[in-house]
Amino acid sequence: MSDYGLKLSAPGFDITTNDPRNLIFSSAFNTMAIAVQGSSSQTGNSGDIKTFTIAHGLAFTPFALVFLNTSFFPSYWKMCPMMGNSPGAVDLIGNSDIVFNTDIRIDATNLVVRVQLHNGSSDTVTLKYYLFNAAI
């Protein structure tokens, strides 16, 4: 048995197609499954640098995605890392009040996210993290 696995074809395509672009899924390819996901939250004031440290328990340095949300603008999530609206910088999405500089570091032990708040008052920052079963 040298050729076995699971395939799902896109609507209208024969599952026996030889072109992988016509497949929705094929076990022949790495699918970047999520190993662990969750969130973390803390409150700070303008100028504060907040650090989130997540000991992920995986035995390798995983590929990571992190999104950040604020109580000041809770309706959407920003992808990290980012250089936000530093004083005088142009805010490309038009919310000059919510300003963050963020940095992500990850190794085989910890995911560390640092966030510098620039909002004019107290703000709660929540991040969502996704760590994948794929080593960097």
């Binding site: 662990v36 969750g38 973390s40 650090t51 989130f52 440290t53 997540i54 328990g57 709660t124 969502k128």
Partner: protein, 114 residues
């Protein structure tokens, strides 16, 4: 879901989402600014099988389920949070981010509304 909270204040500082948490998840830790990992308490809520049902929705015993499977029939498995506050964990399963509307009563270890 695994919920990490500040042992002194009861504030929730983070989560690991999911219904089943293996050894890797159990080893996870979390800290935020002004706290150390050891400051965090942990609530672990695993999900368990709550009922076995036939295709028609009738509740059956494990023995009946095995018998149906041996005859090639489908058995439906329902799950629920294995936790005294399972109603809250049902809600958090749908909207995990709502966890920050709660805090932990450090005296009882229970989730309470902020």
């Amino acid at each position: 879901m695994i919920i990490f909270f500040n042992k002194k204040t009861g504030d929730i500082i983070g989560t690991v989402e999911g219904r089943i948490h293996d050894d890797t998840h159990q080893m996870m830790g979390m800290s935020i600014s002004d706290s150390e990992e050891g400051d965090a308490g942990k609530i672990v809520c695993q999900w368990k099988v709550s009922a076995l049902k036939t295709k028609e929705g009738n509740v059956i015993t494990p023995e009946e389920a095995n018998s149906l499977r041996e005859n090639g029939q489908e058995v439906y498995i329902e799950h629920e949070p294995d936790h005294p506050q399972k109603d809250i964990f049902f809600l958090l399963d749908k909207e995990p981010i709502k966890v920050y509307e709660y805090k932990v009563d450090v005296a009882t270890g229970k989730l309470v509304n902020k």
